[in-house]
């Protein structure tokens, strides 16, 4: 288990998720030109996030999870597909642009580089509020700033300090407060705790949980930490080489992974319980293939321990296995799941 394990945190009460889709991603492709060729960072990803949910995206470095989230936040333009927030296309230019953008906010992985070192915290807070025309004068929102700082556990004296005066955990809370001042509905967090010290991680995770309830937020969290995800998320999507290979309820996916890649991810995390020590480790061979030239058939077949001839030629669809259950893109689902 990671630092955010059972011992340090009370079990997360699963919220009753409303059924309104807050965010709908359909057939999303994100590509970048690389020396005349195209790097396919995200390939045909569709997902739906309900209001009040915690949705997690899991995968190793370079699997396209950050590109996906940045496209959702409007930082990258998708090459195909659409992102709808409350039914309105995020990437369509128009009247509602600013309002939609305000509803979806991105929390960067590392807080320090996302805050201008020359600005005080007050100015850092004010800039997005001013850009979104939440107030015409900084003094009007002084009370809001103080209240939001208090909600992330910092005192009002922080307003006149500079980013260099704070620790990593404090900075991440300041970055979070800056976003919350815009009253967003969806917060996309790109590995929100992985850059922090282990002792501070649990603190920030706690805070995220509390704020979600208090301020009626929905989270889209990127992580490579499957145990953490199974604790805080309702639903999870596992990504490999730009594609979703398995998606379903977070606890089910991490307990009974159907895709061999998910099983390998799970087996790679350190265990805290003796009975789990018996579990066999699945070591993947080699590096992930290049997203410029993805393999034929199932993209995972080059590293898959159970790959067969069919996997090299035929691409598996993301669908529930014949026996029922959550959706998985594998011809032989569950074969490695309980290894």
């Amino acid at each position: 288990m990671s630092a955010t394990g059972e011992a340090t945190l009370p079990p997360h009460p699963r919220p009753k998720t409303a059924t309104t889709p807050l965010l709908e991603v359909a057939g999303l492709h994100v590509t970048f030109p690389v020396g005349g060729r195209r790097l396919q960072a995200v390939r045909d990803v569709s997902l739906t996030i309900n209001e009040g949910a915690v949705f997690a995206i899991v995968g190793e470095s370079g699997c396209g999870k950050s590109s996906l989230v940045r496209a959702i936040c409007g930082m990258y333009q998708p090459s195909a597909g659409s992102v709808r927030f409350r039914g309105i296309d995020v990437h369509a230019p128009g009247e509602h642009w600013r309002q939609i953008r305000r509803g979806v906010q991105l929390l960067f992985q590392e807080p320090l580089p996302s805050l201008n070192p020359r600005h005080t915290i007050r100015r850092i807070f004010w800039e997005p509020m001013q850009a979104n025309r939440l107030a015409s004068d900084m003094r009007e929102v002084e009370a809001d700033m103080r209240a939001q700082l208090a909600s992330v556990g910092l005192g009002a004296e922080a307003l006149d300090r500079y980013p260099r005066d704070f620790s990593g955990g404090q900075l991440q809370r300041i970055a979070l407060a800056r976003i919350l001042l815009l009253k967003p509905q969806l917060i996309c967090a790109d590995e929100p705790v992985s850059a922090l010290d282990v002792s501070v991680q649990a603190q920030v995770v706690h805070l995220l949980e509390r704020l979600r309830v208090e301020q009626a937020l929905t989270y889209l969290i990127i992580s490579h930490d499957l145990p953490l995800v199974s604790r805080i998320a309702d639903r999870v999507a596992v990504m490999y080489l730009g594609e979703v290979v398995e998606t379903g309820p977070a606890d089910v996916v991490s307990r009974e992974p159907q895709h061999p890649y998910t099983a390998a991810l799970r087996s790679a995390t350190p265990v805290a319980r003796m009975d789990e020590l018996q579990r066999k480790r699945i070591i993947l061979k080699g590096e992930p293939p290049s997203p410029i030239d993805p393999p034929s058939g199932c993209a995972f077949h080059t590293r898959c321990p159970i790959a067969r001839a069919r996997c090299r030629t035929e691409k598996p669809a993301l669908q529930p296995p014949p026996g029922g259950g959550h959706r998985v893109a594998c011809h032989f689902p569950g074969e490695m799941g309980n290894a």
């Binding site: 805050l115 997005p128 850009a131």
Partner: protein, 299 residues
């Protein structure tokens, strides 16, 4: 009172510790440059805003007292071929030479930094266009172009400044583009853009403050080289005009009397050299400060 005895009199432990530092280790370079810079600035301010009688003194002719050597009573630096006081002419000349050079630097800086910022935040084709424009401008000898431009527009203070300014901007653009791109890719700029902060605000509050230290260094060096060009064009007779005590034209006039009064060359020559060296030293100090800041920010 010397700094050492002053510190001793203060008696505080901290100050005393500083005073114990051997004199050789004091930042003499910086002290000298600051003192020289302040003295020169006072001189410039005096010539620009000072005493109204200065012009009158500088242009008063006395053919009976022409080509007097330095040290003559009433004329500290002697007189020129028309009996005008060299010191007074030099002082008034400060106004022309320095202000034309400063104006040219301002013009070059505005064009250069403006185009550079446009290229930093603009799309790729703007960047390519600005890059070609820089190459094109650098490909021509700017001094020759400036001469042609003065020839077309006619002589004058403003003309000279404009002619120099419009051909000396490329170094500003290059530095702005290179440094600005470095700041532009930083995450706080991406964050600001994501929050919907306007391009103008991103330039003014994020990018410009980030590159200001480097730009100040470039400005100091460009001022020095524009001052030489200003004096050079005046020397060639493309300056403010006859009778105006611009340093470059004073040099040209002194050349005519070189065999009889060689000391006339020394005044304007030293004035130009002094100002150029000073501007370069200030630029060096600013650059050292920028490097030190960057080191402390990295650690």
């Amino acid at each position: 009172m010397s700094p050492v005895s002053a510190a001793g009199a203060a008696g505080e432990a901290k100050v005393a510790q500083a005073a114990r530092r051997p004199i050789a280790e004091w930042p003499w370079r910086r002290i000298i440059i600051v003192v020289a810079g302040v003295l020169t600035a006072i001189l410039v301010l005096f010539s620009v805003f000072g005493w109204g009688g200065l012009d009158e003194l500088a242009s008063r002719r006395d053919l009976s007292r022409r080509l007097l050597p330095p040290g003559t009573e009433g004329h500290l630096l002697g007189t020129d071929g028309l009996g005008r006081d060299t010191l007074m002419r030099l002082l008034v000349g400060t106004r022309y030479t320095l202000i034309i050079a400063a104006l040219a630097t301002a013009i070059a800086g505005s064009i250069g930094i403006g185009l550079g910022l446009l290229a930093v935040v603009g799309p790729a084709w703007v960047r390519a266009l600005v890059g070609r424009l820089v190459d094109l401008t650098i490909a021509f000898p700017s001094l020759v172009l400036a001469i042609v431009m003065v020839g077309i527009l006619g002589r004058g203070n403003l003309t000279l400044a404009i002619a120099l300014g419009v051909f000396y901007w490329p170094s500003f653009t290059r530095v702005t583009l290179a440094q600005g791109r470095g700041v532009e890719v930083l995450q706080y700029v991406s964050a600001a853009r994501l929050f919907g902060v306007s391009r103008l605000r991103i330039i003014l509050f994020h990018i410009l403050p980030g590159i200001a230290p480097t730009l100040s260094v470039v400005t100091a060096f460009q001022f020095a080289s524009l001052l030489i060009s200003t004096a050079g064009l005046s020397f060639l007779g493309l300056g403010p005009g006859l009778g105006v005590p611009e340093w470059g034209s004073m040099l040209a006039e002194a050349r005519a009397e070189m065999t009889r009064a060689p000391w006339l060359l020394i005044g304007p020559g030293l004035a130009i050299a002094w100002t150029v060296v000073l501007a370069n030293l200030i630029g060096d100090e600013l650059a050292a400060g920028t490097r030190a800041n960057r080191r402390s920010a990295d650690s």
